[in-house]
């Protein structure tokens, strides 16, 4: 295995070595299993928030898989991201049912409200905004997810209220730390 990159995050100062340690543990658990790459990538993205090239190299070496193959898998699945992500992920469904019931208007509302493009992350690092192609909740259309919470029958007017829940959580956490 390669030496671990000694990098501290330039913006938040997080010691990435601790994160690499956590990924190494996951690799250890899965490295003997066939077809475990996706599990490891999933866990690594949970730990890091995204899958930069250095992390993919680390996983490739640990799993003894060519880097090109890791890259192929990461770039194939839309779930994986190689860009740094926001603290929360908003996934607005644009499957057929959600689309015909006004999902597009909600997308525009979120873009306005947060000043973010689809696939982008807000300047304050709070939200990454993505489009999902059917989240399997067509009966609730138009549906939207924030992290693991599903919101039903969303319309532009509801967006600020939904988002405010996550801002409050943030404030409480910040307060507790202070």
């Amino acid at each position: 295995m390669n030496e671990r990159p000694d990098t501290r995050c330039a913006t938040c100062g997080t010691d990435e070595n601790a994160l690499y340690d956590a990924v190494a543990k996951v690799i250890e658990q899965y490295k003997e299993k066939d077809g475990a790459l996706i599990m490891v990538l999933h866990a690594a993205q949970e730990i890091f928030g995204y899958l930069p090239m250095e992390l993919q190299e680390f996983i490739a070496d640990g799993m003894n898989i060519p880097l090109s193959e890791v890259c192929g898998v990461v770039s194939f699945y839309s779930f994986f991201s190689t860009q740094k992500r926001g603290k929360h992920t908003i996934r607005m469904c644009q499957g057929t049912a959600c689309y015909v019931r006004g999902g597009k208007k909600v997308v525009d509302a979120i873009k306005r409200e947060l000043d973010v493009e689809v696939g982008g992350t807000t300047a304050d690092g709070q939200y990454t905004f993505e489009i999902a192609r059917c989240i399997g909740a067509c009966g609730l259309a138009p549906a939207m997810m924030v992290d693991n919470d599903v919101y039903k029958q969303v319309n532009p007017a509801k967006v600020p209220a939904i988002l405010s829940r996550y801002e409050e959580t943030e404030a409480v956490e910040g307060g507790a730390e202070a």
Binding site: S68, E69, F76
Partner: protein, 605 residues
């Protein structure tokens, strides 16, 4: 294996059990158009051109005949209306995301995709729309144009499964898919060895050698340059195929004649410096060998260093084992160094007035000639490298009728060579050539095998090994009496990786190992004409041709080359100071992700 019976297009067909529908059809002289499938290398079902209608047992969808096994009693239709329409649509969809600049494409009239369109009767491109446009990636060796790529993935297969280098991959999905090293990296900045096996299998112009044709033409037309050309051993068994001859023709005489008519000032031969390499490398091995025999310390096994793809491979993958490599430059680089020093002086030229062109069966040699350490007296050892294919193109461009040329000789003195040099082009050949000389130096007798061939290493297996026992040695080699030298030979990186892992683990039983980067050696290198049909058949035929060339010669041992011995009289002994300055080199620790070096081989930065 037992045979099965099936019906294809109403005809009863017999095929060995386990055949695919495509194989069964071909065996029965029924032609199914195909594109991505490549016998022995790539079976993936990517392009869907070879689809057939499986009537019984009924299948809902058309089946890719390269993937589906033929079964007893199957009824197949390869050419009904449904199949014809599907095939044509498939082609038109591939065409919709293809840049159709065929007239200016290096593969014009030599393109499998173009030929297939003609075969399918496609005369229109009905699906014009969005294109997935990508930048062209130029490295010293390979030019990758994703806009010509049809996503067949042959290159990915050969890179991963045959060469185990796994540089190329399919990135992204659907319409956005591109074949790339990933992360937007140019090939010149990856652990690519530039072996060019991907270039050989590419059906279109997406992967090709980075051309040196223009610079060679400019040098020939420059009256102030003295242009010297040298073709590698394997070129003589490849060049005929550029002019429609079947594999296995050795066209040394026509090759020399063609190069002379192209206007090169001297038509010499890399074979001369293959003999030179044997003297230098053999001496180096004997020095290391003697040290170990007399209780000293030297790094063994020694690894040959003629194949620049292999050098890149070890630098990337085994950077801490570089001291096992012979320090000898590859033969054409040695040749360039001699031309621009010893020979330039002889003809009263300055090194900078000399221009050396190598004709190579290899794409990695292009990268090699750009390596900063391969210079002497302020000039590059070699200025340009043409692949065998590029030479074929240039001969045609210059209006030379290759097939009607007379057989001519290379120029003296640096065009003279022995049979030992010829076999440098095939796996096992460098080792055998070295043994012919080393054994004789140690024992004073000829290598004791029929016809000078070491049978265990004359073949195409991935790894071959032999033991050579030194008996009744010369007095000065007393320490070697009774010693059994273990040698190994491998070609392709899959075998090299195994032998290197042994070395890394301290478990290598060998004293001397020959490695060539491409499976089979230079005869099927990345710069050779693309085989028509099964590459294994082509490889076998080229190998036989090269051994034939060796056996036709009177002189078959490098140390018997009179031109070489005359050179050493003036130059000094093998391994002398001048040799070390001009004929030997050093290597660069690169690492898998180039983390150990800042060097790269990107051209369009």
């Amino acid at each position: 294996m037992a045979d099965i019976k099936l019906t294809i297009n109403g005809k009863e067909c017999i095929a060995p059990a386990g055949s695919t529908i495509l194989q069964a059809a071909e065996l029965n002289n029924i032609h199914i158009p195909k594109l991505c499938y490549l016998e022995g290398i790539h079976k993936y079902g990517a392009c869907r051109i070879c689809v057939v209608d499986q009537v019984s047992p009924p299948a809902k969808n058309l089946q890719a005949s390269c993937m589906v096994e033929a079964r007893e009693g199957m009824v197949i239709e390869t050419n009904n209306a449904r199949v014809q329409e599907a095939r044509k649509t498939m082609y038109e969809l591939l065409l919709s995301n293809h840049d159709k600049k065929c007239l200016t494409c290096a593969r014009n009239q030599d393109c499998e995709f173009q030929a297939l369109g003609r075969e399918l009767g496609v005369e229109d491109s009905p699906y014009e729309g969005e294109r997935n446009l990508q930048p062209i990636d130029v490295s010293e060796s390979i030019t990758r144009d994703p806009n010509k790529c049809i996503l067949c993935r042959r290159c990915v297969s050969v890179c991963k499964n045959i060469q185990t280098t796994s540089v190329l991959t399919a990135e992204n999905r659907g319409f956005n898919t591109i074949i790339t090293p990933g992360f937007g990296l140019p090939m010149g900045n990856t652990s690519c060895t530039f072996c060019g096996q991907c270039v050989v299998v590419c059906p279109v112009g997406a992967l090709k050698e980075t051309s040196h044709k223009d610079r060679v033409l400019a040098a020939i037309n420059d009256p102030n340059k003295h242009v010297v050309v040298q073709p590698a051993p394997a070129v003589r068994v490849g060049i005929g195929e550029c002019f429609g001859l079947p594999a296995g023709n050795c066209e040394t005489g026509k090759l020399a004649a063609a190069l002379r008519r192209m206007g090169f000032d001297d038509v010499f031969d890399t074979n001369w410096s293959a003999d030179l390499t044997i003297m230098e490398e053999g001496t180096e091995f004997l020095e290391r060998f003697k040290k170990v025999l007399t209780g000293g310390v030297a790094t063994l096994p020694m690894l040959t260093s003629c194949s620049p793809g292999w050098i890149q491979f070890i630098e990337h993958n085994f950077p801490n084992q570089l001291d096992h490599l012979s320090t000898c430059k590859s033969p054409h680089q040695m040749f360039g160094a001699v031309i621009k020093s010893y020979y330039a002086k002889k003809i009263g030229k300055r090194p900078e007035d000399m221009y050396v062109v190598s004709i190579m069966p290899c794409t990695a040699k292009k990268t090699e000639c750009a390596r900063p350490e391969l210079m002497n007296d302020g000039v590059r050892n070699v200025d340009a490298v043409l692949t065998t294919r590029e030479l074929g193109d240039m001969i045609k461009t210059m209006g030379i009728d290759f097939l009607s040329l007379p057989d001519e000789e290379f120029d003296a003195p640096l065009g003279l060579s022995t049979g030992a040099a010829d076999i440098f082009g095939v796996t096992g050949g460098v080792m055998e050539a070295a043994l012919r000389t080393v054994y004789e130096i140690v024992t004073g007798r000829e290598l004791p095998f029929p016809n000078l061939h070491v049978p265990e290493i004359a073949g195409l297996e991935q790894v071959m090994e032999a033991t050579i026992k030194f008996e009744n040695v010369k007095p000065e080699w007393k320490a070697a009496e009774g010693f059994e030298a273990k040698i190994a030979v491998t070609s392709g990186y899959a075998g090299a990786r195994k032998l290197m892992q042994q070395i890394k683990d301290g478990k290598s039983p060998y004293h001397f190992i020959e490695v060539m980067g491409c499976p089979g050696g230079c005869i099927t290198g990345g710069g050779q004409p693309r085989p028509k049909g099964d590459i294994n058949v082509t490889r076998q035929k080229r190998m036989e041709a090269i051994y034939g060339e060796d056996e036709r010669k009177t002189l078959r041992k490098s140390h018997e080359n009179p031109a070489l011995m005359a050179f050493y009289k003036e130059w000094g002994d093998p391994g002398c100071h001048a040799s070390h300055e001009y004929l030997h080199t050093h290597y660069v620790k690169r690492g898998k992700y180039n983390e150990l070096t800042d060097e790269n081989f990107v051209v369009n930065k």
